[in-house]
Symmetry: C2
Subunit: 424 residues, 2 copies
């Protein structure tokens, strides 16, 4: 986990490199950030090697590491014998920050959730609560999210932790800078000033707040996990009531000019007359989204369709039925596979990712989906052998989005380590 | 033109930033590169401002500029009064290099072409020759391209010019590193070792050779032109016998894991039974590509369908007919618009670019295409108001691809200015 977080993920995603330093304190900040990001992205290493990798003088590096040690952001690790070095092995330094936490809070159609990661990449808080978000409306949903954030923050602070930020994740198109959810049809939000609402509810001790689309955060979380394998191009497909994709291209999150990139749920790809929350009919997500899966798989009275039961339990139940060979469940998964394939093929042709990662409910049905889907997509794409693309299941299940939010919140520490060093 | 080349285009596209300097000569190269790219991307400025922008000491900047002046890569420009400066205005420095040329050589279905740009962004050589590339086969096509490159290089060298590189552009998927065209169905090339073939034909004085897909180079050329407007996300649609797209996302070219990104010509988007060069039927490019346009617009014996006539003249003739209100031509353009729209909508939904640029033959029919297409795409995309995307015509027509190739060839100078300074 920790290794993954250090494996180059958030690197280029959140913000540009620090500007050229204009004064001494800016230069110190930039250097601390450079060293900390090096340790995250390239792994533990000795002071000598840090000097070599950054081009900074050895004395400067020693001073910077001393500051980071003081601030609790790094720790001494194991001895590292530098490549080819003859003398005494150097002491490696690695990212620490076990008491520095980022939070990801997700609002989706049928639940809200919160996940905290510390700087080491360890999950330090996790909770998911069923909620009919569309029915209760934005104000009540923000109440519930604020409550969850308050509980999580209080628990982490009670242990002496420092919560550096919270990312709110929602489906649909968001205006990150303004903190506004522009349009999320499945939860019925339109022009909701989500961050202002959250800030008001959380009061004076509010950590820094961010807002991002669920699919983009899911892609970020997957990218951090897989970056150890040198994957630079990845498409993450959410499996929720709605379906969207998050695109990592060349190691960077693709947002598009209006942050609408990846809004594929409403493409018309499969013949269908099913009404969609957007007001149209036959949108792709009505054929592969959660409602479609549950509708294909079970009658209305079935427990798997009871929204008051935690989603994870219901999906696990469906997985059990598939394992047991239940014909209706298997038929439902076959239909999902058939409807998934044309969209995945399209994404493979246009984006040629190294990985197509299926998240959310898709991630529950590995063996019953992946082979069928892969075969179909292979037939449909133009590039031979899928152009080097592999279709895989998310290892994060329903937690991917909140995890991506926590990573984004933590990235501010990498951009400016001094912000948390004062308080550490 | 010059302004455009300096306007931030190739910046992130070709290669990563220089590695941290490990020795003095590497550090000098990196600094020369940084200064030259600053002048290209941000425009002319004084030495004082260069020092401020790069963080380099003023004395170092003066020394670097002296070297670049010596090498003919920059020149003294007009006096620049620094913002807020009270004293004497500084002398601005700007990119020069009128004698340093990059070449772009394009092989397409019905022509080959060559275009040279100098470092100032001026077109210094341009030629296009009709050729039935599929019929003559790869060897003869490479003969013809080598002949064109030899002529262009000789002409530029006769004026004392320095040709730093040649980019070969072809349709289809290419392996840049190996210099191999993997598969280009419309010209019938499969696993053609194009760069090795070209190198053999050009002999000992061969400039550095590059290989890239036509749509990606077209996107690069468009991006350089539009970057002045702060466009960071752009999709370029080729209008050739085949149709592909080049994607610029967040200011960088999106290639995909196997360089197949943008291979959209074979999507099935429009009901059609037309046979495609790829062996299938009904591919998108068979409904909007050059053959479709000419088939819709004219009978087989018509001059616009005579491949021995230069393509530009034939397309200009069709444009004249459209202007004159010829019903068959207008009907053909209406069909092209109808078939373009679903694909453009798909690209807008997935990538949310700021600009969708229509190149090649599409660029000839502005008023007869753009409004109809825009209206249809607006209806089909999910994001309100096209998500901030604008559909525009390429200003480069058939020259975009070769121009992108010339830019890519020139980028090596920005990466390592010392390579040409020795010989300047």
């Amino acid at each position: 986990m920790k290794q993954a977080l250090q494996g180059s993920g958030v690197r280029d995603l959140a913000m540009a490199r620090p500007a050229v330093a204009r004064d001494r304190s800016a230069s110190r900040r930039a250097n601390l950030s450079m060293v900390l990001r090096l340790l995250r992205d390239e792994g533990p290493r000795s002071r000598a090697r840090i000097a070599e990798d950054t081009g900074l003088p050895k004395a400067t590096v020693s001073h910077l590491i001393a500051e980071l040690l003081d601030g609790g952001l790094v720790r001494e690790g194991e001895a590292e014998r530098d490549r080819g070095a003859v003398g005494r092995p150097g002491q490696a330094v690695e990212v620490d920050g076990g008491g520095i936490h980022g939070l990801g809070a997700e609002v989706n159609v049928d639940y809200i959730s919160l996940l905290a990661l510390n700087l080491r990449g360890e999950v330090t808080f996790e909770r998911r609560t069923p909620l009919d978000v569309r029915a209760v409306g934005p104000e009540a949903a923000l109440d519930a999210i604020a409550q969850l954030v308050t509980e999580g923050t209080a628990a982490l602070r009670a242990q002496g932790g420092n919560v550096v930020g919270v990312t709110l994740a929602t489906p649909g198109a968001v205006d990150m800078d303004a903190g506004i959810v522009k349009y999320a049809s499945n939860i019925g939000w339109r022009e909701v000033a989500a961050l202002a609402g959250l800030r008001e509810r959380l009061g004076p001790l509010t950590p820094e707040l961010h807002l991002e689309n669920d699919a983009k955060l899911g892609a970020l979380a997957e990218y951090v996990l897989t970056s150890a394998d040198n994957v630079r191009d990845l498409v993450y497909v959410t499996g929720q009531t709605g379906v969207g994709v998050g695109i990592i291209a060349g190691g960077r999150l693709l947002r598009g000019t209006g942050a609408y990139a990846g809004e594929v749920g409403h493409l018309r790809l499969v013949p269908s007359d099913q009404p969609c929350a957007c007001g149209r009919r036959g949108c792709w997500e009505t054929t592969i989204g959660r409602d479609a899966l549950l509708r294909y798989a079970a009658e209305p009275g079935d427990t798997v369709r009871d929204p008051t039961i935690d989603l994870d339990r219901r999906l696990a139940e469906l997985r059990d039925r598939a394992h047991a060979g239940d014909p209706r469940t298997l038929d439902a998964l076959g239909r999902i596979a058939d409807h998934l394939a044309p969209g995945l093929a399209l994404l493979a042709d246009i984006l040629n990712p190294r990985l197509l990662v299926l998240g959310g409910h898709f991630a529950y049905f590995g063996e019953h989906l992946i082979d069928t889907v892969t075969t179909q997509v292979r037939d449909l794409t133009m590039a031979p052998d899928l152009g080097g693309c592999e279709i895989v299941l998310s290892q994060l299940g329903l937690a991917g989005t909140a995890r991506g939010g926590a990573l984004l919140a933590l990235d501010t520490v990498y951009q400016d380590p001094t912000a948390v060093m004062a308080s550490a």
